[in-house]
Assembly symmetry: C2
Homo-oligomer: 446 residues x 2
């Protein structure tokens, strides 16, 4: 049997590098690198053998088997020694059956993959376990000297980076623009002991600094030009298929900003198909916030080219991106899967999120973008009533208390809160209380 | 084989009731009811058969098997039809290996059971799936008419109740004292569509109203006098043992307020022992906040009796309870297991929580109480250096942003933040940035 093997390769396929090298761009054409797998080696095992192996690992209590990512390790980083893996049981997040919402919308089925039910509360854990494990491996096996891992981020990426580095005992560094973020926004990396630097510059200036400090390779770069994270994120796809008994959903909807998650999702399904685990790839739908929708605009123009936009403020703050890094890969994902790109307003995303909460979800605004996109496409007849739909929920609603409070207090600017749920005030008297309850209970029975 | 069977029984064992009855107290002596199981029926299956069954269910993708609670359903509510179960994949929360902290403290091993990595962010999901499933069963099988489920709560209980009811389509009701809580504190039940009533009274007044509205049994009572929730919470114990290969930890530390979780933990281990799954029961340690420590005070007096106290404000808000409902059962748990009760100050709990964050945790203040208790008991030689310790973490740190921000900004009153992590301000110049990094990276390498 051929040994499993993966390596970095540039987009044009002209040069390759070992994963143990500290490198992010091609030495030939400076393009970003991708992780490639020896698919022949993976294909030597039959689909039935893979399915059996993945099923058996669900029974195991070894850390590497309990992780949704590392339980698929031959598809992720096949040469990673298990003792170097840094895991916090990421993956295997719940696939929430949103049957009542499917019924309301008139579609066959709707399930929501709750990637935010995780250690740091967002899907970023999926990629970060891979990146930090690789760094840990390089340090532990003394392949290179690495002093720390750094990123420029004010959100979920920095939270995931700091937590995984803290677990591994590797220093982490977070750069952010001074004066534009609160302690509350940075409180996860601060708590997990990151070196947090507020720089007198904007976000682009922070990106420049992070690239400078990582130049001599003693500080490792964790931003999304690092393609290792995609290998973790892509396991969402086999995980969904495995849970569905290796059946493939018809449509998967994901919120899109930088579009790295879109390319990861597509890669996951493609890998599964190459290994014979599934026989088709679902239609991939990317939902964008209207305030930051360059991908949607390009889609509407037949993907002529990406025209970067100045992203406007959106409630879906993590996808407020005007010039998405992973545009070419996301185009390929849409084109190869007969996919769709949809754009939703602030009001649509807010109402969609809180409509879903009524059936037990606790949706973040990005999940609201995906759910709002679903509503629009069903209404427009672009998603068929007979289709089984999966929505990818990217973060835990607990990270967005302000969004939810603002919505229910009807204080979100320019937004009519259709599903606002007011607090009733009443005297502590049974009669007055029962009057309110009788009316409201009848309204809410499903 | 005897069929598995469970029923309500009062503390004195004089009267029993079917679980399908809407009843919380004995009709004979008005004492609270407990769920009893036919242990003979459970013992007819051998320990090996149980272990095999529980192992196999880990491979299954049926909702009732993926839930940590319902995968032990014969121990929980054995007669519940699976189609009536209301689950959001609660349980099987990560057992975080806190080896670096164990090393610092000088104990053999330390693992933290992260019960807050869950749908609503706290361990209350474990009990609520059982209570709401039972209500759903009564409604679906038309055993009684139930219009809604109600609780008086301003915290995790109301969040869990509302989410599970929303999932099931059953109206839920939350009572709280007017003017004492913010929309933010109640935002989970508001989002999940609960009928939220702010009453012109204090918390005791809300408890009176909830008992009044639930009197005619059309509105079901979800507060902790309802013993169904214990059946879910107790599965923490078999879950820990199963993950450890049915080995029993030496010590389990849990934060205690109303003490229902303590009695549940003990019941879980006792049930396992009765079924032959384990051969000993760990020492149970209850950690209380000094500002609300009537259980500790009684322990220090040799458990002569409970003297209720006026609980003072504590950062560990969910255990700010002066008159714990489950005192007698918790006494039994401590006495039967050679257990300990420990009390920690506000400063101790805050520092313990943030010390743990440095190794990748994100500890809520209650988890801080448990971790602070551990530090104290190790220092006092009451926990042996050779003991394997489990700490129960009750909620996700994401619910306690204010606590963490206040700690790191050194603004928690009367508290010296030993592990505060300041944000460094710097110009966007590589030299200045590297000066800070070099110093800080060296400090943080583990």
């Amino acid at each position: 049997m051929k040994p499993f093997h993966a390596y970095f390769q540039n987009i044009n396929g002209t040069d390759t590098y070992p994963l143990d090298e500290v490198i992010y761009r091609s030495k030939v054409d400076n393009s970003l690198l991708e992780v490639h797998h020896d698919r022949e080696a993976l294909a030597e095992r039959s689909p039935e053998e893979w399915k059996k192996l993945f099923a058996e690992r669900r029974m195991s209590f070894k850390p590497e088997d309990m992780s949704g990512i590392w339980s698929k390790r031959e598809m992720v980083l096949p040469e990673m020694p298990v003792e170097d893996i840094v895991t916090m049981r990421e993956g295997w997040s719940p696939l929430f059956d949103a049957a009542p919402l499917a019924k309301e919308l008139g579609i066959k089925s709707l399930k929501v993959k709750l990637c935010g039910n995780s250690h740091t509360g967002s899907f970023k854990d999926l990629g970060m376990t891979v990146l930090v494990s690789q760094v840990n491996h390089i340090i532990k096996k003394q392949i290179h000297e690495i002093d720390a891992v750094a990123c420029a981020s004010t959100g979920d990426t920095s939270a995931a980076l700091s937590a995984y580095c803290a677990k591994a005992g590797i220093p982490s560094i977070v750069f952010l623009p001074a004066g534009k973020t609160s302690t509350a926004q940075l409180i996860q990396p601060i708590s997990n002991g990151s070196i947090v630097l507020a720089l007198d510059t904007d976000f682009d200036g922070c990106m420049k600094i992070v690239q400078e400090v990582t130049k001599d390779n003693r500080i490792y770069l964790a931003n999304s030009m690092n393609s290792l994270r995609v290998e973790g994120q892509k396991t969402i796809s086999p995980e969904i298929c495995q849970e569905l008994g290796w059946k493939v959903p018809d449509v998967v909807i994901i919120p899109g900003g930088n579009l790295g998650n879109v390319s990861a999702l597509a890669k996951g399904f493609e890998d599964c198909k190459a290994m014979g685990l599934i026989n088709k790839i679902p239609r991939i739908v990317v939902a964008q916030a209207e305030h930051a929708n360059p991908f949607y605009q390009a889609y509407e123009r037949g993907f002529d080219k990406l025209v970067p936009v100045q992203a406007k403020k959106t409630l879906a703050s993590a996808i407020q991106i005007g010039n998405p890094v992973s545009y070419p890969k996301a185009v390929r994902a849409i084109q190869n899967t007969n996919g769709i790109v949809v754009s939703v307003t602030e009001e649509e995303l807010a109402n969609a999120a809180h409509r879903a909460d009524r059936i037990g979800l606790y949706a973040c605004p990005h999940t609201g973008v995906a759910l709002g996109g679903l509503e629009k496409l069903v209404a427009a007849g672009k998603i068929d009533k007979e289709e089984a739909v999966i929505v990818i929920s990217t973060a835990h609603g607990l990270k967005f208390t302000e969004f939810k409070v603002g919505y229910h207090e009807q204080k979100l600017e320019g937004i009519q809160s259709k599903f606002a749920n007011p607090i009733f005030k009443a005297p502590a008297e049974i009669g007055a209380v029962m009057d309110i309850l009788k009316k409201e209970m009848a309204n809410r029975r499903r």
